[in-house]
């Protein structure tokens, strides 16, 4: 364990800002109201460290590590109705205040870097959505890149901002009006969202911003703001009112890590609150197959000769790229893989339950990767080890509540974050609940 020292430092600092948030997740919005928006609270992480029997804190540290991993994945698995076809405008503050160096290297450069990461992650999670980028500089709203579904366009546009300097004052109103204009014509079955990265404490507006807020509400645009300095009353009002009273849409970054988390939260498709907010409809779509022809022919979209392309599944005309609307018959053509990317939101994998020592003897190794679990200690030691951090399993085993197989923490993490499949459920066709004997016991372990 040459690296144990390093990890210890790294992870305790992580806990400093993560733990209180995790603990207060439910009461979060209520508390914030009382405290006037201050999101942090003093946490004494050193007090949670308990010396083990051997006089070291390694067991506690390992526990914290595992609990940290676990916390990340205990997501809400309720299948909410989410707006998957999204239209998002990202507004970046490019004003003077962004040259502050309280976020390293500067607010400006960090924001641009995270904005690029955001674009990538956004299209990873929302492949059929549209994004546009605006900037606020010199009291004007600046069009950085137009609404499009192509991530590389946005990335290059944001990249080109890096050679410029932040300048002047921002105008929130101008930015919002321009965003509203860009979102105005978007179809009603998609969402309309604005994400503002706001580093200033003021907004120099040409008119009444409250009027703009009212029109935003009328156009069903939801605004989320990530503040970099301190909470600003108008931002708070803006977020609260455009999100139907939900205050969590406004967050002020505490540090670089928190800033990133706040931004990346937006990549998850938002839950739809009311049935009538979006007119849902059944869309007819074609899933064309890619063909390569022996000799070039003209494509229907640009009239350019090409050999490869996609043939419309209804009328057979050739288009060069997807997603597109068939120029001759008007059918929406889309890659089925684009749709399939979002299905794990639809059918989320249930969180796995912790396994107490009582049930642990059923397995000796992880079902998926074959990693050996710690052996079950004698019964009288069970209580001693059960004082670990919440959310982690005493026996290092995690049980899928459908197929009742046991997995290790790494497979748990991997299954929930990357594959979105349960290795156990997928490997046996009929659920294969062959060990029914300890069923009643198992019921009380599922928290």
């Amino acid at each position: 364990m040459a690296d144990s020292d390093e990890e210890y430092v790294g992870d305790v600092t992580e806990d400093e800002d993560d733990f209180p948030v995790a603990r207060n997740d439910r009461t979060r919005s209520g508390k914030r109201k009382q405290r006037g928006g201050a999101e942090w609270e003093l946490s004494r992480t050193w007090e949670t460290l308990v010396e083990g029997a051997d006089g070291t804190i390694s067991s506690t540290v390992e526990g914290l590590l595992e609990a940290g991993k676990r916390k990340r994945l205990l997501k809400d698995t309720t299948p909410l109705q989410r707006g998957i076809i999204r239209h998002v405008i990202l507004i970046l503050d490019l004003s003077q205040s962004m040259s502050e160096k309280d976020l390293r290297p500067t607010r400006y450069l960090l924001t641009l870097r995270y904005a690029q990461e955001f674009v990538r992650e956004f299209f990873e999670q929302n492949p059929i959505s549209q994004l546009g980028v605006l900037g606020l500089r010199d009291g004007l709203a600046l069009r950085v890149s137009d609404m499009s579904g192509n991530p590389t366009e946005h990335l290059t546009a944001i990249q080109s901002l890096k050679i410029q300097d932040p300048k002047g004052l921002p105008s929130l109103q101008n930015g919002l009006e321009m965003a509203r204009g860009a979102l105005f014509h978007t179809p009603s079955h998609g969402t309309r969202e604005v994400l503002v990265i706001f580093g200033s404490l003021l907004s120099s507006d040409p008119g009444d911003i409250h009027h703009t807020i009212n029109t935003l509400i009328g156009d069903k645009v939801r605004v989320r703001i990530v503040g970099l300095a301190a909470q600003v009353a108008i931002c708070r009002e803006l977020c609260t009112r455009t999100n139907g009273g939900d205050e969590t849409a406004y967050g002020v970054a505490l540090n670089e890590q928190h800033f990133r988390e706040l931004m990346m939260d937006v990549t998850t498709p938002p839950a739809s609150y009311s049935q009538k907010q979006s007119a849902s409809s059944l869309l007819m779509m074609g899933f064309p197959s890619r063909t390569v022809e022996a000799r070039p022919s003209l494509c229907a979209c640009h009239s350019k000769p090409s050999r490869g392309g996609y043939l419309c599944s209804r009328c057979g005309s050739k288009v060069c790229s997807l997603p597109a609307e068939c120029p001759s018959c008007g059918l929406t053509l889309i890659l089925s893989t684009h749709l399939a990317r979002s299905y794990h939101h639809l059918f989320p994998l249930m969180n796995w339950a912790e396994v107490l020592w009582r049930q642990a003897s059923r397995s000796s190794a992880c079902f998926a990767c074959g990693l050996s679990f710690p052996v079950v200690p004698p019964e009288d030691q069970w209580q001693v080890t059960e004082t670990h951090a919440k959310g982690m399993s005493v026996s290092s085993r995690y049980e899928c509540i459908t197929c009742h197989n046991h997995f290790c923490i790494d497979c748990d993490l991997f299954a929930h974050e990357v594959v979105h499949n349960c290795p156990g459920c997928q490997s046996n066709s009929v659920g294969a609940s062959h060990n029914e004997s300890d069923m009643p016991d198992r019921m009380d372990t599922t928290v």
């Binding site: 990890e7 059944l282 899933f287 490997s427």
Partner: protein, 366 residues
């Protein structure tokens, strides 16, 4: 964290490139193999695959291999076997069999061969004819998920041993950024993993696993693990998409008897070598999807605008079967309005008949 340590760095510079992990998914669906009996029986195919695995192991002393069988009702590990006393088993069985012919065989070859054949035999013995009745599919999604879990485990373990690049990623993610934890960075320093699927089943059999299969494919895409498909029979819509998405090789063998030749020539090079090769791949890709309602493979579908579920026909009652939203069906699937055919009347007796039959206003109902 090791990468912070200076001494580790020097070692890193000295070692050669990372070894590769080959994972083979063998589709052992008995129905499909029975159809191939004349040209390539399963036993022969397994022998060919074992030769191929040996070739892979011989490329680099540190190369690794894993084999999973995607059977008709379950997916099972063939090698390495979890929950067992691991490598030692090779010795035991050899002593039990007392086969002197095996004595001079390179040990890694022998261990893999013995375990795979034995586990496959166990798997076949445990399959009863009842299991096969009315079940012609194969557990491809399960096999892929198992394989991915194994790759994940091996990548973590390898990075811990060697202080490779992915450890840095893991350290990053320890600070909370789960997103880029799995996005692969400098790939030369990671364990190079790839997946080879030897597939025999048709695609319509696996349509009910559409979502899990696609989930696995996206996971591979994210981890930059190529999926190679060696198709012996049938067509595979989703596997074509898998190869296309992960930049793997798709080959449908016209002559299954030449399996070994194809494997050796097309599938043996690892990712690093592939950069310099012109690969046999498929340019026309079937991008059809499976509908959620009848598990049909369709090329035109109805998509719910809320949850993007695909239906092959407008769902009854206009409610989405997945999310339950009332959907505005619109003008789809509506027969063109029929004009009432005018009755030909021979005698133009009344001038009024042209405007339909002028009847008296119907009696209002009670």
């Amino acid at each position: 964290m090791n990468s912070v340590d200076a001494s580790e760095h020097y070692e890193l510079g000295a070692i050669d490139l990372a070894p590769s992990l080959l994972t083979v998914v063998i589709d052992t669906n008995p129905h499909a193999w029975a159809a191939l009996e004349d040209s390539l029986p399963l036993s022969k195919a397994v022998a060919n695959i074992l030769v191929f695995i040996n070739a892979h192991l011989a490329c680099n002393y540190a190369n690794e291999v894993a084999v999973v069988a995607s059977h008709s009702q379950k997916a099972a590990w063939l090698y390495p076997v979890p929950n067992s006393t691991s490598d030692r088993e090779g010795d035991i069985t050899m002593n039990a069999n007392g086969a002197p012919a095996q004595m001079n065989k390179y040990r890694p070859f022998r261990v893999v061969e013995e375990q795979v054949t034995r586990r496959l035999k166990d798997l076949m013995d445990s399959t009863s004819s009842d299991d096969l009745k009315g079940n012609t599919s194969t557990m491809l999604a399960g096999a892929l998920t198992l394989v991915l879990s194994h790759i994940n485990r091996r990548t973590i373990a390898w990075a811990e041993e060697h202080g490779g690049a992915s450890l840095e990623d893991a350290a990053d993610s320890g600070a909370g950024s789960g997103a880029n934890r799995y996005s692969a960075s400098n790939d030369d320093e990671r364990l190079q993993s790839r997946i080879l699927i030897v597939s025999v089943s048709g695609s319509s059999d696996s349509a009910h696993q559409y979502i899990p299969v696609m989930n696995s494919i996206f996971a591979c895409q994210r981890l930059q693990i190529p999926i190679d498909v060696c198709k012996l029979s049938g067509d595979a819509v989703f596997l074509q998409q898998a190869c296309d998405a992960t930049k793997g090789i798709y080959m449908a063998l016209s002559e299954p008897r030449g399996l070994l030749q194809y494997l050796m020539m097309a599938f043996l090079p690892d990712q690093r070598s592939r950069r310099h090769l012109v690969l046999p791949t498929r340019e026309d890709v079937d991008f059809r999807a499976a509908c959620f309602c009848h598990r049909r493979v369709v090329n035109i579908g109805f998509v719910c605008s809320i949850c993007l579920s695909i239906f092959c026909e407008a769902p009854p009652g206009g409610a989405c079967l997945t999310c339950g939203t009332e959907l505005d069906i619109g003008e789809y699937d509506v027969k063109p309005a029929l004009m009432k055919r005018k009755k030909k009347k021979k005698k133009p007796a009344n001038g009024t008949s042209a405007a339909g039959t002028p009847v008296s206003t119907p009696t209002p109902g009670p």
